[in-house]
Symmetry: C2
Subunit: 491 residues, 2 copies
């Protein structure tokens, strides 16, 4: 059975290998092992998708100016380790070894059998707000019989939840009616529906740099062209945004202004207005991801939602219950003009058809009855985690750079020139999962950053920082384990 779909060209793979910024080899490792280690890193980090067809040996050798023998030996080593599969006449494609964790980048959850011995600094998600989740679930069970009498299919969402979401937008300063709301199965599904409705292959999409890793990859998988626009010290680079919107006339601009992922920045109303004005001129739809919007644990004033400043019906807003309530609910939403909401509801017949009824009832109950309590709980957790992590990092990794952001779920940390990807791979030895900064950029940018989620309890922060320091020492020694994971380590 053929399992691949995408293909990476020799030139593109050579570029990815060059931007991997691995530590210099220690000198005693043959070139083929170095190459195999780099490809393995790209696969296990998820930057080269599983199932990607790789170039023929001769082509890659030419692109890398290596001998064909070296590339052939590297491919052989990758096959032996389960990272490559080949078939005569069909070429070779990337795979993951049997038994390795299915999600291949640190942004996926660890399999249960690994979560005991590994500190997961990849996934940025909190436990559910208790006891309110349990209370809301019990209330939902009481409401269920009224829905159980029907087919349970609500393409735009269960009315009580659409109303609750609309009320929350209105309370935040953006008057909203239920017919402007589509309930989705999480924010990624919402983004996927909007992308599919508004974008065609080859369309340009302007994105913040850095930005949310999974959205960037989802857009790349849809064959759009990403135009990154830098973010500086918690502000948009507005002249650059204006230039990109004018010159590239992107179909879509994707932004996270309310506690940006990964930096936690909060964009003020003046900047929002300026971006909307430029987007209006260029005819660009602004897709605002408000997934972290309720996480302002370090700010007192909230700007109004971006769509509240919109004078040209050009803003589409996506939000989620995953961060402020619980990721296990898988409830998100789109706020847009009723016509687009209808279009998206029709389109989802080809994806999830609708969202589950029970989760919608639970989310409606939580949003209506327990949002303030859940928010206070989250803010307290995030603030204490951030303060403890920052203190521990400054203590144990004083040359790394991090600041307390106004909100959000993560710290964005510069690593004093160490490769985030190398740290991520070294972390496999030291027992810590690390989200490399390059995951949040386009084409290998932000290599010298990592993202740390504020999910570490304050008491565990010193241990987390100690593990990171050990990982940094391993990554900096140059004794890169590569495929030699059986060798003794330098820690």
């Amino acid at each position: 059975m053929a399992e691949w779909q995408s293909t990476v060209s020799p030139v593109a793979l050579a570029r990815q290998l060059r931007t991997a910024h691995l530590p210099e080899p220690a000198g005693h490792r043959p070139a083929y092992r170095e190459l195999a280690g780099q490809v393995r890193l790209l696969v296990s980090e998820g930057r080269l998708a599983v199932g990607t067809r790789v170039p023929a040996e001769r082509e890659l050798a030419q692109a890398l100016a290596l001998s064909r023998t070296t590339v052939a030996a590297a491919y052989e080593a990758l096959r032996a380790d389960g990272y490559l599969r080949s078939r005569r006449g069909s070429g070779s494609w990337t795979t993951l070894p049997e038994g390795s964790s299915p999600p291949s980048d640190a942004l996926h959850p660890l399999p249960p059998d690994e979560s005991g011995r590994t500190l997961d600094l990849g996934i940025a998600a909190l436990p559910a707000p208790q006891p309110w989740l349990g209370q809301a679930a019990a209330r939902a069970v009481e409401q269920l019989p009224a829905y159980a009498a029907g087919h349970g299919n609500f393409p735009t969402g269960v009315p009580v939840l659409r109303e609750a979401i609309a009320r929350r937008f209105t309370a935040r300063g953006l008057p909203t009616t239920p017919d402007q709301i589509l309930v989705t199965t999480g924010a990624m599904t919402a983004l996927q529906l909007v992308h599919h409705a508004l974008l065609s292959r080859g369309d340009r999409v302007a994105v913040e740099a850095p930005s949310y890793a999974h959205t960037l990859r989802a857009l790349q998988r849809a064959d759009t062209r990403l135009v990154p626009v830098a973010q500086h010290r918690g502000r948009w680079d507005l002249p650059e945004w204006q230039r990109v919107l004018r010159d590239a006339a992107p179909r879509l601009a994707y932004v996270i202004p309310d506690f940006h992922n990964p930096t936690g920045a909060l964009i003020d109303e003046d900047q929002r207005r300026a971006l909307l004005a430029a987007a209006r001129t260029s005819g660009t739809t602004v897709l605002v991801d408000e997934t972290p919007a309720e996480l302002g644990w370090n700010t007192t004033e909230m700007p109004r939602p971006t769509a509240a400043l919109d004078r040209g019906a050009q803003v589409v807003t996506v939000g989620s219950a995953s961060k402020i309530l619980w990721g296990g609910l898988r409830i998100g939403w789109v706020r847009a003009a009723p016509g687009l909401i209808r279009r998206l509801a029709t389109d989802r017949a080809f994806t999830d058809i609708g969202s589950p009824v029970m989760e919608q009832l639970i989310a409606a109950e939580l949003l209506t009855e327990h949002l303030d309590e859940a928010r206070a709980d989250r803010h307290q957790r995030l603030r204490s985690s951030a303060e403890a992590l920052l203190a521990a990092l400054r203590d144990q990794l004083p040359r790394w750079g991090a600041e307390l952001p106004p909100g959000g779920l993560t710290l964005w940390v510069s690593t004093d020139g160490l490769s985030g990807a190398a740290l991520a791979q070294a972390g496999e030895q030291t027992g810590v999962r690390i989200a490399a900064g390059s995951r949040f950029g386009v084409d290998g940018a932000f290599e010298h950053h990592i993202r740390i989620p504020l999910t570490v309890p304050p008491a565990a922060a010193p241990d987390a920082a100690a593990r990171l320091a050990a990982t940094a020492a391993l990554a900096a020694t140059g004794h890169w384990p590569g495929l030699d994971s059986a060798l003794p380590l330098a820690v």
Copy 2:
């Protein structure tokens, strides 16, 4: 804001208009109204997707051999009725009028405000099996705290549900381990993940004719090429399957052998083996949709699941809790080799990330504790509905053709030469939603069929047949309302 994505070429639109098989115009209607009515039908039936860019007037006029004035007047009428929007320099694209029901074909649920006055013969979904759903939900609430302590993110599914699904496959004669199972958010999401992993644009996919409407359209939206293979009297046309597999060498064959949708046919083991043998020779992956597999209300012997006869690891199976349990749960699954399951789990980071925890716990509880009771309840409902509907149809529409199938959720009814699409549109006047047969075929096949879901209670069957008979009378008069819905009707 630009809302379109896809484009329909003049030739393709002309072909769709030609296969629409509308009744002859009554003679007094101008050509532009006829054309506008046909386009409106394609849009409101969902065969021309909302947001599709339509050809320029001149091009369509040429393709249809009509004057440009006629096409311009038709477009103007469509704009006036809210079915088309145009912008200078950007062309025209299909829309739905404000306030019209978002799901535009009869396979979507009715909006609540319409469900009182309309008999919905579109959606084939039963109410939840009570009291077991409520009992399982209450049990799930008890189990929730253990999950609430974590992030709630399970890309492959909550272990108890993976285990329950694997046990059920094993009990059906197909030994299965949990690592062969991916829990998805309904069967459509499962199909979408499999399509994305196994297919590239332009790939050929062999499908039964007829087949499940939404899968056909999802495959067409992914720019694959469908190769329909006829189904005759509850059997596959095996010589034709063998010819198609040999000559077209499709990447994928999509089949519904266990109570086919829409015909309810059950394929025997000999036929399954013959198809698998041919697919092995052609290197085709067989995607088996088992969504209706537990609905054998009119058969005593069940063949083993298709994958149990597989000797080449070439079968991928998709299933769902929606039909045997409840559509409001949105729980489906994929059964495949562990390597493909891992790949799909990684891919879903760009769609739904994971399925909601509560629904998974409810589904696990229902599958483990209440499957037999739920199945008995479903079988009794479906059998009594089928028998009553069949009797009422034979009474009131004796020239229509239908038979009692061995199982499934629908009757596949031939309409004595009446256009199913015309019946669907006439049904808007007579208050009955009808799923036209052409929705289940490729390129307008099965125009003279409709699908009737077995969701009508036996006591309501005579009324349903009476409404269908009135609808048939209206559709047959030739007084096609088209855009003249304000005119008095011929009923």
